[in-house]
């Protein structure tokens, strides 16, 4: 406070009114910090409240409504039928488990691939190689998501590039096209950069002195990795897993394109409930499932320190 007053008086050289007014406003804001914070945050907070939370709220409210089967108009009477249907139906449960299962498999796969890659980038590669690897990691993100999924469809098709190569190598061909396996492969490929980058950031942050200290204390490479590097990199892995897990959880394009006959995700059911049956209330009720799952996931991730590594 005192410093603010000093500055105000000390610098108040006789000049035009405008700079003086501005300075006065500046010191006023300096004295009332909360006002400054409010002015700074009004726009994003407002957007968050009115656009994001309000939309979520409207979605949640509509989950309690129902649809007139004949006129297909929303009937605004309260009821838990949609939630009961989600809860009791074996199919919707199976679809939810499939979605979560594949999201988890993709996350583990990406973590296993990303860790050695990020380790090499952060600690072994020369700056030149590192820059090159960065470009290579980011390169797929410059092309359209759809193009990459369609490319995989061609690779994994019955007469596609994969089986063609296998046949040339005198190996038995595989039938992974249009299946859950295909989805797992494609998701793992598509979200890999989102795992590599946070893991890289976490690994790069480990001071070299830690590793030296570990060696000085007699730890071999494997022990250092297990007791020093891995615990310090874990928040990065968890941060990356938030991306890979939530992106897979919410996707519906890849299941529609490379999935097989029994490959529906939560997103596909939501999409069809809205787009074909015009049943927004049921879609809203089912959409709360991934919301809940992500909520739990984020709480666990926070415990593991993922938010410090973002």
């Amino acid at each position: 406070m005192a410093a603010g007053l000093d500055a105000d008086q000390g610098l108040a050289a006789p000049s035009e009114a405008a700079p003086r007014a501005r300075r006065r406003l500046g010191s006023f804001l300096w004295r009332h910090r909360w006002l400054r914070a409010l002015a700074l945050l009004a726009l994003p907070v407002g957007a968050f409240l009115f656009v994001y939370l309000a939309a979520l709220g409207a979605l949640f409210v509509s989950a309690f409504w129902s649809v007139d089967p004949f006129t297909s108009e929303v009937v605004r009477t309260w009821g838990l039928d949609n939630f009961r249907q989600v809860w009791e139906s074996e199919v919707y449960r199976r679809i939810a488990f499939r979605t979560v299962g594949i999201a988890a498999a993709v996350t583990v796969t990406d973590a296993l691939i990303a860790f050695p890659f990020a380790y090499f980038m952060a600690r072994i590669a020369s700056p030149r190689t590192r820059a090159l690897l960065f470009v290579l990691v980011m390169l797929p993100l410059w092309s359209s998501y759809l193009v990459r999924v369609y490319a995989w469809r061609l690779i994994l098709a019955h007469d596609g590039a994969l089986n063609w190569s296998l046949a040339k190598l005198q190996l038995p061909t595989v039938g992974v096209g249009y299946s859950n396996t295909a989805m797992w492969i494609v998701f793992s490929y598509i979200w890999l950069p989102f795992m590599i980058l946070p893991v890289y950031a976490a690994l790069e942050r480990i001071p070299h002195s830690y590793l030296e200290a570990s060696r000085d204390l007699g730890a071999r490479g494997w022990t250092t990795l297990r007791r020093v590097v891995l615990p310090l990199a874990l928040p990065g892995v968890v941060a990356g897993s938030i991306f890979t897990f939530s992106l897979t959880l919410g996707d519906y394009v890849t299941p529609a394109l490379v999935g097989g006959a029994g490959s529906q995700f939560i997103g596909n059911v939501v999409f069809e409930s809205v787009g074909i049956a015009n049943n927004v209330p049921f879609a809203a009720a089912y959409a709360t499932v991934p919301l809940l799952i992500m909520g739990v996931y984020l709480v666990v991730a926070r415990r593991l320190g993922a938010f410090e590594a973002l």
Binding site: V67, P69, F70, T71, S72, S89, V91, Y92, R94, I95, R153, L154, A157, H158, D159, G160, G175, G177, Y178, A256, G259, G260, A261, G262, Q264, V269, E272, S273, G275, I276, A277, N278, N279
Partner: protein, 382 residues
């Protein structure tokens, strides 16, 4: 539903727009003889590809009705738009069979007098009063174009040639079957069961009581492990057949023609049980502000030339029997490809889409409605 066909028409646009534009001008005098002066304007909701400049421009020139087009992406959207603001914002809608009954029973559309449409008498009989736009002898619109859902198979891989829908439920083709990803597909299975298990008493594949519905859903659940993929876009099915992922499936003539053009050994047929199909109808809003222009449009799109142009452009079949010769003029052999010259019995074998509603038409209200169909479809796909 019909959004699935958009891919088809996009591909055709490129291939056919140019030759179509070059077709000779036929005289259309007398088409509008039974109408007075138009209101100078016309608003319509259409499927994309249904109101192309090719046939809209000459219409505007001859009638002075300025056309304002709105494209819809689904049958549900069409129904919603027609009801918006109490109705009357749009004069016309190109409703598919899964929307038309909803519009009729919702009092959203008006009756029209077919005697004002000169070409109506040239329609194949099946399309003059089909149940999806004609209720109690009253016409709620004029039929436009249609397409069958056929059985498509790879002639090299499927032997002997199938003649029944049973092939789609045969474990011989496990993992090689593809069917449309669409709840209305339940009707295809119902049609098959109506012949296979007469004891169920299925008379109309769109009117199923709980017992019949359960039997149909059980059959489709048994089919699920045989299915490689439920296709959403015509292009999906084409690539499945091209890449050998599927050898047999339910399809439209458009896919057959595209695959054959690409030298894939396929053939399609209407199996002995018959087939389902879609039929679109131009319907006029019960609160239309420009009814004369709206009916003039119905007369215009019923003329052989426009029928042929649209059939070729979109890849579907005209309802006017005189369109056949003009189709061949635009693209050689297209009339036979799209069965535009088939005998009346062929058309009668098609069960056209209509909205499944609770009212079975026999005084009972115990049929499964469309919401049930959609939920069952999700269950089937699992």
């Amino acid at each position: 539903m019909r959004r699935f066909r958009i891919a088809a028409f996009v591909a055709l646009t490129v291939a056919l727009a140019v030759p179509a534009a070059g077709a000779g001008e036929a005289s259309n005098s007398g088409v509008f003889a039974k109408f007075g002066k138009g209101e100078g304007q016309l608003t319509m909701i259409a499927w994309e590809g249904y109101a192309q400049d090719q046939w809209v421009k000459p219409f505007v020139q001859q009638t002075g009705c300025k056309v304002k087009r709105t494209y819809a992406g689904s049958s549900d959207q069409m129904v919603t738009l027609m009801r918006k603001g109490g109705g009357g914002q749009y004069d016309l809608v190109s409703a598919s069979g899964d929307a038309s009954l909803r519009l009729i029973y919702g009092d959203d559309v008006a009756t029209v007098d077919p005697s004002k449409i000169p070409d109506y008498k040239n329609f194949f009989q099946t399309f003059q009063s089909p149940p999806n736009n004609t209720v109690d002898g009253k016409h709620y619109g004029i039929s436009l174009q249609w397409g069958p859902n056929t059985l498509l198979y790879n002639t090299k891989k499927v032997k002997p040639a199938p003649n029944s829908w049973a092939a789609l439920y045969d474990s011989k083709y496990k993992g090689k079957v593809t069917v449309p990803d669409n709840p209305i597909q339940i009707a295809d299975a119902a049609l098959y069961l109506s012949k296979k298990q007469p004891s169920l008493g299925i008379k109309d594949p769109y009117e199923l009581n709980q017992k019949q519905f359960d039997a149909v859903v059980a059959l489709l659940k048994k089919q699920r492990p045989l299915v490689k993929k439920y296709w959403a876009l015509a292009g999906d099915e084409i690539s499945l057949f091209k890449n050998g992922d599927a050898v047999i499936g339910a399809s439209w003539p458009y896919q057959t023609n595209t695959l054959r053009a690409a030298k894939v050994p396929v053939r399609d047929l209407i199996p002995r049980e018959g087939a389902t199909g879609w039929l679109d109808t131009w319907m006029m809003s019960s609160k239309a502000k420009h009814p004369t222009c709206a009916q003039m449009w119905m007369a215009w799109v019923s003329t052989p030339k426009v029928q042929a142009q649209q059939a070729i452009y979109f890849g579907e079949t005209p309802v006017n029997r005189k369109a056949c010769a003009l189709m061949n003029k635009i693209t050689k052999g297209s009339c036979a490809q799209y069965h535009a010259n088939a005998p009346e019995s062929y058309y009668r074998s098609i069960k056209f889409w209509k909205t499944p509603i609770a009212d079975c038409g026999n005084g009972q209200k115990n049929c499964m409605d469309y919401t049930k169909w959609q939920q069952a479809w999700t269950q089937i796909k699992g």
